[in-house]
């Protein structure tokens, strides 16, 4: 039943053309424009071609907003008057929430993977193992969907939910030092390296792309795993209260 529901959820996601435009077309356009600016240069910090670093950061940065799929579908299906129809089915509502989570995670990850393939073929970005990247994308995407699911379950106001999603995405940008350099202190250095999901996924990505930075990748993976476990636990706790 879960697979069947997820299948239809996936079709709904495929027809969300606005989402495709914002989460696929826009990042590819940004990669193209910034790629033109950086040219064939090497990123001095990471020691990889600048276009590779740009593609990696932009693709993963936009993944942070993929959780909007979960937020939107949860709201429209389970927190609107439509919920009574779904509640009247011989199908526990948390199954529906789970189908949204699974489909949105896979869909968002596949969007990211499509961009990975595109940048590999068009810009010759060296991604390393595609399988490892796909696994990381699925994992990272699920984490982001869980964050947005928690927002949907924990916040009543739609507007506040949207704002919190933006704070999560843009806050991760800021903490990762994408927009500006954070002060050179121990705390900020830690936050920039391990204190946000974007940096954590970047650390793992760098290992996949270069085979270097193994320790950072390991720590980052451990933190991401712990965060996921905490998010799953919190989602179950709030979900039981709100979807009972």
């Amino acid at each position: 039943m879960l697979l069947r529901a997820s299948n239809y959820m996936f079709r709904r996601l495929l027809r969300g053309y606005l989402g495709l435009a914002i989460l696929v077309v826009l990042p590819l356009a940004l990669i193209s424009v910034i790629g033109l600016v950086v040219g064939d240069g090497i990123d001095p910090k990471l020691g990889i071609p600048a276009i590779d670093g740009v593609a990696m950061i932009i693709i993963f940065a936009f993944q942070l907003f993929g959780g909007n799929y979960t937020l939107d579908f949860l709201r429209s299906d389970l927190f609107s008057p439509r919920k009574w129809r779904l509640y009247s089915l011989p199908y526990p509502p948390f199954y529906h929430a789970l189908s949204i989570l699974i489909s949105s995670s896979l869909f968002s990850a596949l969007q990211g993977f499509a961009m990975v393939l595109y940048t590999h073929w068009v810009y010759r970005v060296r991604w390393g193992s595609f399988l490892s990247i796909l696994v990381l994308l699925v994992f990272f995407s699920a984490l982001n969907q869980l964050v947005y699911m928690l927002i949907a379950l924990g916040v009543k106001s739609d507007k506040l939910g949207e704002r919190l999603g933006e704070v999560y995405g843009l806050g991760s940008f800021a903490l990762a030092g994408i927009w500006f350099q954070l002060p050179n202190t121990t705390v900020f250095n830690f936050l920039t390296k391990y204190g946000n999901p974007l940096s954590l996924s970047r650390n793992v990505m760098l290992y996949i792309m270069t085979g270097r930075y193994g320790n950072e990748a390991l720590y980052s993976l451990a933190i991401l795993l712990l965060a996921s476990v905490a998010l799953v636990w919190a989602s179950i706790y709030f979900g039981r209260r709100k979807l009972a």
């Binding site: 039943m1 069947r4 529901a5 239809y8 079709r11 709904r12 027809r15 969300g16 008057p81 439509r82 009574w84 129809r85 779904l86 509640y87 009247s88 089915l89 011989p90 199908y91 526990p92």
Partner: protein
């Protein structure tokens, strides 16, 4: 066989008593019309009956078993048409039906067949592969109904299924309800449209302020107020002396005005029409006059003191 039974059900929202010791039964094969003014508790009653909300006290049985015994199995035998159109606008009509049918356990060839039948029943076969976002309001409502009957439920609960639809779709929906009933489906039908209940219901329940204030067949209910007669009169000018004349007539119980039409409720008796005509003629020009037998609308008005359609949704 009794399909649904509520016994002394009480439901409160905070301190507001929404269902006050409601007891009712529905027999197999009935079409029960549930009527009530806005805020009477109709939707709450439907939600309570289907286990969508808990009740504070009382017992609910569906298909001869307490509701809490196996709620998922019980839900599988019900089709619920919500007041809101609850289809997915990003799935085609066929996909919507496949989704709902699949949740009800239909698979493979039987799912395909039931989807096709449901589309035919509501007259949407031609539009099966279109997205409901391109449908008219009436077509969306018909799809909403199709999603509730795709699994051939034993009991269909319809919460104002014709709100905002065109007359053609309304006729189609009412005919669908009759056809389903002919096939043996029991129907609980809530509406603001008295004529729909008169057209399809075999029995009527009137709910007001959380109480069931009357129930029975339409003729039973009309019989209850046969002691009254309604006279309608259109005059060139509604004046206060005219109204005073009418109110002072023997047997007149009430006079209300709607534009140039005066509604007079009198006790049943001979000569009412003549007396009203004489009184009205004295005060001005009479355009037409007629006496009406009581209708379900009159029953409703008499019992609740309210018009059925007096504003927004419940």
């Amino acid at each position: 066989m009794v399909i649904a039974r509520m016994s002394d059900v009480v439901k409160r929202y905070g301190t507001h008593l929404v269902l006050d010791n409601v007891s009712m039964e529905m027999g197999e094969g009935e079409i029960v019309g549930l009527l009530g003014p806005n805020g009477a508790g109709k939707t709450t009653l439907l939600y309570a009956l289907t286990g969508l909300i808990g009740v504070d006290s009382g017992e609910i049985e569906l298909f001869g078993r307490p509701l809490e015994d196996n709620p998922l199995e019980t839900k599988g035998r019900i089709g619920f048409v919500t007041q809101e159109v609850s289809v997915f606008h990003d799935l085609t009509a066929r996909e919507n039906l496949e989704f709902f049918g699949g949740i009800y356990g239909l698979r493979g060839a039987s799912l395909k067949q039931r989807v096709q039948q449901a589309l035919e029943t509501v007259g949407l076969t031609e539009y099966a592969n279109r997205l409901p976002s391109r449908f008219s309001g009436g077509m969306s409502r018909r799809l909403n109904i199709a999603c509730a009957l795709v699994h051939e439920p034993e009991l269909i609960i319809m919460d104002e299924p014709t709100v905002g639809v065109d007359p053609q779709s309304r006729r189609h929906i009412l005919e669908t309800v009759r056809e389903l009933n002919r096939q043996g489906t029991t129907v609980l039908y809530t509406t603001h449209y008295m004529e729909e209940v008169q057209a399809i219901a075999s029995r009527v329940i009137i709910l007001d302020q959380g109480h069931i204030i009357a129930e029975g067949t339409i003729s039973d209910l009309v019989e209850q107020i046969r002691h009254e007669e309604r006279i309608r009169l259109e005059v060139t000018d509604v004046t206060e002396p005219l109204l005073q004349n009418l109110r002072s007539l023997e047997g007149v119980k009430g006079v209300t005005v709607e534009g140039r039409v005066v509604h007079i409720t009198t006790q049943v008796g001979s000569g009412n029409l003549d007396r009203v005509l004489a009184a009205a003629s004295k005060a001005g020009g009479v355009l037409w006059i007629n006496a009406e037998r009581p209708t379900l609308e009159d029953v409703f008005l008499t019992l609740t003191g309210k018009q059925l359609r007096d504003g927004g949704e419940e």
